[in-house]
Symmetry: C2
Subunit: 348 residues, 2 copies
């Protein structure tokens, strides 16, 4: 007779309590009923403190990336924190040129969080992991008191394999290189903002959240001289290009007319006084490649469902100041700085 009987989880009306993080029976039950069922795979079923996994093959190096996800609201048009936590980390691995192999997931739950919402988030995460072909192989759950968290935070860590000899890095851009984006900018950030601000448009602005390792593979195949890939999340294209400029010691000049922005995103940005170049994306690549490979790269991206609106948007130039500038639609030039302050908190 076990004396501490635990009632079955009420996934419809129940909520997280502190016992679900306590290391006892309730935690084991939550892990088994919610996480174990959704993520089920041979590694997770090992049931130990960590997962034992095949290492990358000979001639491959490891890539490791980690990301905490604190997006608010948890559910938004086009996605939720669950699929975002998969895509965000898969993409960090993919832009290194690596093949994503495994994900680890760690949850910080707030006491009182509805189990139904947790199950919905975990199901979305599991679907995203399945679709990306990257299993969640190990995890952790902690619970904090009501008012000490915000529903759920999810940290994912991605492990990938990178062939020896392939090196994509923010430090590789050279003067004369082409700068390419794989599609419209600002969709994710404006989907979140539109929901927060209750903005109504003719049709909903949806997050572009997606796993990009397939598109990254297309880019690498189409442009053998590819310098680097990045996913312009927090801080948007502006922050990412400024980072690249700093790392590579070059300047960048963008062509405003060439930058794809969805008309509704543009309208929402104008309404809120925001610049699409500063807004987070969760399903877009930035590629820098030699100028003579740019056309092939854009064509290849456009042939992929996630790159239909790919465009060449600028070039790297010699500039000791490492400035990012933009030729405006009116024929002038302006600085494209990264922001000093916080424009969009908790966007991912």
């Amino acid at each position: 007779m076990k004396k501490n009987y635990v009632r079955p989880l009420d996934l419809r009306h129940g909520s997280v309590d502190l016992s679900h993080g306590g290391g006892g029976r309730a935690m084991v039950q939550l892990i088994s009923d919610v996480f174990g069922k959704a993520f089920d795979n041979e590694w997770l079923r090992q049931g130990d403190d960590g997962a034992v996994l095949p290492a990358p093959g000979p001639g491959e190096r490891l890539v490791v990336a980690t990301d905490a996800h604190v997006v608010s609201p948890l559910f938004f048009p086009g996605g939720d924190i669950g699929c975002l936590a998969v895509h965000g980390t898969v993409n960090d691995v993919a832009v290194m040129g690596a093949r994503p192999l495994y994900l680890a997931a760690s949850f910080i739950l707030e006491e009182g969080f509805p189990l139904a919402d947790l199950a919905r988030i975990v199901a979305s995460m599991a679907a995203a992991a399945r679709e990306a072909g990257v299993p969640v192989v190990t995890g952790d759950t902690k619970v904090v008191e009501k008012g000490k968290g915000d529903g759920v935070f999810i940290t994912t860590t991605g492990i990938g394999a990178l062939p020896v000899g392939r090196s994509l890095s923010g430090a590789n851009a050279r003067a004369g290189d082409a700068v390419i984006v794989s599609g419209t900018l600002g969709d994710h950030g404006m989907a979140i903002m539109a929901q927060r601000e209750n903005l109504a448009f003719d049709s909903e602005i949806r997050s572009d959240t997606a796993a990009l390792h397939g598109l990254a593979a297309v880019a690498m195949a189409a442009a053998p001289g590819l310098r680097l890939l990045r996913d312009p999340t927090r801080g948007g294209l502006a922050a990412t290009l400024n980072e690249i400029a700093q790392q590579s010691g070059v300047g960048v000049v963008l062509d405003e007319a060439a930058i794809p922005v969805d008309p509704q995103v543009a309208a929402a940005c104008e309404f809120l006084g925001l610049d699409p170049l500063n807004i987070a994306n969760e399903g877009k690549l930035i590629a820098v490649c030699p100028a003579d490979e740019a056309d092939a790269l854009v064509a290849a991206l456009r042939a992929h469902p996630l790159g239909a609106r790919a465009a060449r948007v600028g070039e790297a130039i010699a500039d000791d100041h490492r400035f990012v500038q933009m030729k405006t639609a009116f024929g002038g030039r302006r600085m494209v700085d990264w922001l000093a302050g916080e424009q969009l908190p908790r966007i991912c």
Copy 2:
């Protein structure tokens, strides 16, 4: 002229604000001045979205473990959330029998958190990582609004290398095996509780937080037939042995008189109505090995500074009920159940 000038971080009087998570210049500055300086190593200096790392050698598999750390208070006798976040994950890798190679670290900061406290935590983390020989190779920082977090949460993910052919697992225990602990139980949990409850003792109860991969290597060398190692964190020895009993399909009988407990920890437990067997440890191993290797294993552990009070505390038995029981000091027997409720929230 860059227009968004960022003032130098005031590490003495400043505090975290939302801009430090925004993907812009303030975030880059925080990462560079606080995290980059403390953790400095060649992998982190790559400065990309993830780290490129040598893979485990031929004949080795990967081990991945992840843990969110939400301990409250953040600073406690014997340690803080920083070193705990290193030790906890290094230990999860070590108990798999693996050699810990790398750590990824992800921070969720609450707006208003003092930068001085953050710097102190990061310094402690960096020192623990250096001492353990496991570099922090990549990381992430997010900031949530005041009241939506609790100072700082740290999720660490550990990557290790496990020789092919070595298999330590909670499923390996067999009837007749010896159960060994590497030292006194309950120190970490009671250090936290004593601080929370303002209990005063003759001398301070200190957390046992420590990296255990050295001690684990000693155990593997001393007991070639070693079945498994575990670190009894949340839920303490009781939860860990119940998990092992479930995974292995055995029962366990403990000998109360043999279980090492510090007298002050025992006194604090009695005062608070807690059982040391349920209290978290952060620097102790549980080992299960064939009975005829137990003496050699205990002797080897005792020769290591972290195992001075190692003891053989029980045995695995054939039991279809998979019960964990204890022969009490009074000659009776009692069940050692894992707890259904939450006894000690946010202990790690």
